[in-house]
Amino acid sequence: MSALDLTRLTAAQLSELLSSRTVSAREVAQAHLDRIAEVDERIHAFLHVDTDGALAAAGAVDEARAAGDRLGPLAGVPLALKDVLTMRDVPTTCGSRILEGWRPPYDATVTRRLREAGIVILGKTNMDEFAMGSSTEHSAYGPTRNPWDTERIPGGSGGGSAAAVAAFEAPLAIGTDTGGSIRQPAAVTGTVGVKPTYGAVSRYGLVALASSLDQAGPCSRTVLDAALLHEVIAGYDPMDSTSLAEPVPGVVASARRADVAGMRIGLVTELGGEGYQAGVRQRFAEAVKILEGLGAEVVEVSCPSFEYALAAYYLILPSEASSNLAKFDGIRYGLRVGDDGTRSVEEVMRLTREAGFGAEVKRRIMLGTYALSSGYYDAYYGSAQKVRTLIQRDFAAAFAQADVLISPTAPTTAFRLGEKLDDPLAMYLNDVATIPVNLAGNAAMSLPVGLAPEDGLPVGLQIIAPAMADDRLYRVGAALEQALFDRWGGLLIEEVPAR
């Protein structure tokens, strides 16, 4: 097997080799752990590598397979888990100092489903602190670097998960997407990322940023791999009141179908014009032509309320976050500062939060606290909720004309580390095309459509489907991906320079 680098394979390919017992889960896990040891010092995708746990889980899969147990398709395939999901007895920091040293006593529902599917969890990936950011530079543990150019950001907040997949440290990863934190990192790292319909994947054990927007989803190098992982993590969970009871649409079947003939695809006029990098627009336009060539009917749709999406988002998100993050006070777990016997509990809480939270987290807690204050609630939080309703109506009207909508995922390719760190508004604008989807609760995918000619960096295309029609993402995404692979003669990600 020396000729075969197991880390270069997709999850679907690994699945075949594992089920035919050509390779063992332990071999696959070890190959990825070796790869992490080799490259992660430069990439810094991982905050914690669970070497012993991963090898033990892989060993258990091998034993079960040897015993003739029926295993799921991804049993023995390794995965990187975003550090915002709890994993029993394994450190969970959310990229924050305030949770340093905390080992959760329970598994998130997503984590439990991964384990039950025999997926081998390699470790926890880096992220912007409490998922607040678009570059992973807001991690308290240092930034993650983009495997395409280590002087550039890997996107955020889930830069660690996307970079781990792009750098071949893991074939699969779990991200979470509140305003684009799966899709924008996928776009700038040349990988695939899916934000499922709100409620499709349980949020139990996902440390909340904004409860009404957060959704966990798959990160991978191919559309089919994302579908395989999507089927593992999606489904009703009584532990999450907002979890959907409807059956999960057949995403794997749709990815295999890979056919857009006769589908109506809507171009959102408000997403993709001014402010979008030339190379991004060019690759996007080429992809539209390819879809037309595959037999899709492309129509233009207008969503006028999207103009207010960013403003509404930056009221709703901080409001919910200010409340969700109140529990981090040093009383029950994590960091505690100033408890020297002379200070009151209020002082210890204040000192702990002052030392434990980074600048961006404090900025959003203050924004949210202000927006919810009596006397300001109606003007800020109330108005933002009205905008949310308008955006949902825009989507409903657009989906009356089209089966799916498409846009560039992000306005630009990966920017340089530090470039937007002191300009929060410029940073927030990265998510202008992804945020409306979270506000409406729809499903969306980002997949790579080429490298921008001017900088040689990946460009992502976003596909948006109505709620509970996640299967359409995979049908369209897989068809486009196949056409692109044919054009490129393989996966775009194969060209990633990081070694």
């Binding site: 959760p104 139990y204 009141s241 109140a326 777990y333 509990v345 606290t369």
Partner: protein, 507 residues
């Protein structure tokens, strides 16, 4: 504390100058088996922090899942209080930092309570007789309880001066229903009695609904009393104080009385009542200031995004309405009439906690007087002695009725009946089994009785002589001896007759 030296005004004087307005907020801990948002037990008195999980500890990532039984209890309470049930409502987060709050917000309801706009009639006694007052209900909403802080060391057990504090989260997440009255106006001098009568009626109602233990001393029913004064019933409301820690019916009445006097003293002195939380002290009968609410706290309420809205269907509401018990006050009046007893006699039954038991005993065939006598007399005495509730005694209303039937048929006398009851309570079986096993039936067969009478007369020849001489009342001593010899099983009247017959005198 500018009015610390102001005298508390006498109640009568206060009422001459001011009109009191009350508002009561009652928190009821539901007796659901599990907490409001997780599967942890709600059992009272467990070791600290043993009934907790990621959800009620508010651990990062944990989410609430709504307890249907808690929602149903809330709706039943609302329906019993003649409230509307919301067609659609949500939970809201009440944000504030406190160590006994695992999430630093309380999941509660704010502007969308599940029940609103109701009323309840309460009876209270005056020197002129019993009166009824209609108390308006503003709302009844669902929320979760907090944990409990325990301040260790120091002299007072309070936060100031404590060496350190511990938090017990067993109580965190236990379902609470907060019931808020509309302003209670027009009660005048009877404001303290009306307040007490309201809490008492609410307690009866909640007990009848079987939704809570309603034990004020254990904190499963907690009362906050708002009091304000105004110069006349036409004037706008005055500034209110909110008295907490009012943990008995008597305290409800006393604290209202005290607050009326305290505020009247301040106002008469030209002062201003502070809007504040005050603590009631049962021992001294005083309230002292707590947290000041002069700067209104901003709880930054917003709809709880982790819970979907509740939209009870009309069918669900009507199905719950059909489970409502009869209003306790209405029931008491109905039963008192049916049994032909006075208000005072009914009060004795209710106060003994015996109403259900007496009713069931009568239904099983006993007379109302006998049923009341057993439950409020002998059985209440035993329950009191054992420190248990009447209903927890190991005897059923049907068994009490059976004993009473044996008395009526002449098989048992009063003393034997008490022995039969004692046997049942000790687990010796049914009344019939106890009577048989202990051989308790009255002996009315003349044979053995005559022998006992002869023996007793022989043992007390001087008494026998007196009876012969016409002192019939002296027979009591002989009857006593016979009863003793037969271990109480003789029919006393028959014994007396036999004595006279033996001695040849007319009884």
């Amino acid at each position: 504390m500018s009015h610390a030296t102001t005298q508390v005004m006498g109640f009568e004087a206060a009422l001459e100058r001011f009109d009191p307005v009350l508002g009561l907020e009652v928190h009821v801990e539901l007796s659901t088996a599990t907490k409001m948002f997780c599967g942890c037990s709600t059992e009272f008195g467990a070791e600290p922090n043993t009934q907790v999980c990621p959800v009620c500890l508010g651990l990062p990532g944990a989410l609430p899942a709504l307890n249907r039984a808690g929602v149903e209890a809330a709706m039943r309470i609302g329906l019993a209080l003649n409230c509307e049930v919301a067609q659609w409502c949500r939970f809201a987060r009440k944000n504030y930092f406190y160590p006994d709050m695992p999430k630093n917000f309380q999941t509660s309801q704010y502007d969308e309570p599940i029940c609103f706009d109701g009323w309840v009639d309460v009876d209270y006694d005056t020197p002129e007789g019993r009166r009824t007052f209609r108390v308006g209900i503003e709302r009844a909403h669902m929320e979760e309880d907090t944990g409990k802080n325990l301040h260790m060391g120091g002299a007072t057990g309070r936060i100031h001066g404590a060496d350190y504090s511990l938090v017990d989260y067993n109580r965190a997440g236990i379902p609470l229903i907060e019931i808020v009255t509309k302003p209670i106006e027009g009660a005048g001098r009877y404001a303290p009695e009306v307040a007490r009568a309201y809490v008492s009626a609410l307690r009866d109602l909640l007990r009848a609904l079987d939704v809570s233990d309603v034990r004020m001393e254990q904190g499963s029913l907690r009362c906050d009393v708002n009091v304000s004064l105004r110069p006349s019933p036409e004037a706008p409301f005055g500034t209110r104080s909110e008295t907490k820690n009012v943990n008995s019916l008597r305290s409800v009445e006393r604290s209202v009385r005290y607050e009326i006097g305290r505020q009247a003293g301040i106002l008469a002195d030209g002062g201003r009542v502070h809007q504040e939380t005050r603590h009631w002290h049962e021992d001294t009968g005083l309230t002292t200031p707590g947290r000041s609410k002069e700067e209104a706290e901003d709880y930054r309420y917003f709809p709880e995004p982790d819970l979907v809205p509740i939209a009870p269907s009309r069918e669900w509401v009507e199905a719950l309405r059909a489970t409502l018990p009869e209003n306790p006050a209405v029931r008491r009046t109905r039963l008192a009439e049916a049994w032909g007893i006075s208000d005072r006699e009914m009060a004795a039954v209710v106060n003994a906690g015996a109403l259900d038991l007496v009713e069931a005993t009568i239904a099983a065939g006993a007379g109302q007087s006998a049923a009341r006598k057993w439950w409020t007399g002998e059985l209440a005495r035993v329950a009191n002695e054992r420190g248990v509730e009447l209903a927890d005694l190991r005897i059923t209303p049907a068994q009490v009725a059976e004993v009473e039937a044996l008395v009526k048929s002449g098989t048992l006398n009063d003393k034997l009946a008490r022995q039969a009851i004692e046997g049942v309570l000790s687990g010796e079986g049914t009344p019939a089994e106890v009577v048989a096993a202990r051989g308790l039936a009255i002996v009315s067969d003349d044979g053995p009785l005559l022998a006992a009478v002869d023996e007793a007369l022989a043992a007390q020849p001087d008494v026998a002589e007196k009876i012969r001489g016409g002192k019939v009342q002296a027979a009591g001593a002989v009857v006593g001896a016979v009863m003793k010899a037969t271990r109480g099983q003789a029919d006393a009247a028959r014994v007396r007759a036999l004595i006279f017959e033996r001695l040849g005198v007319d009884g």
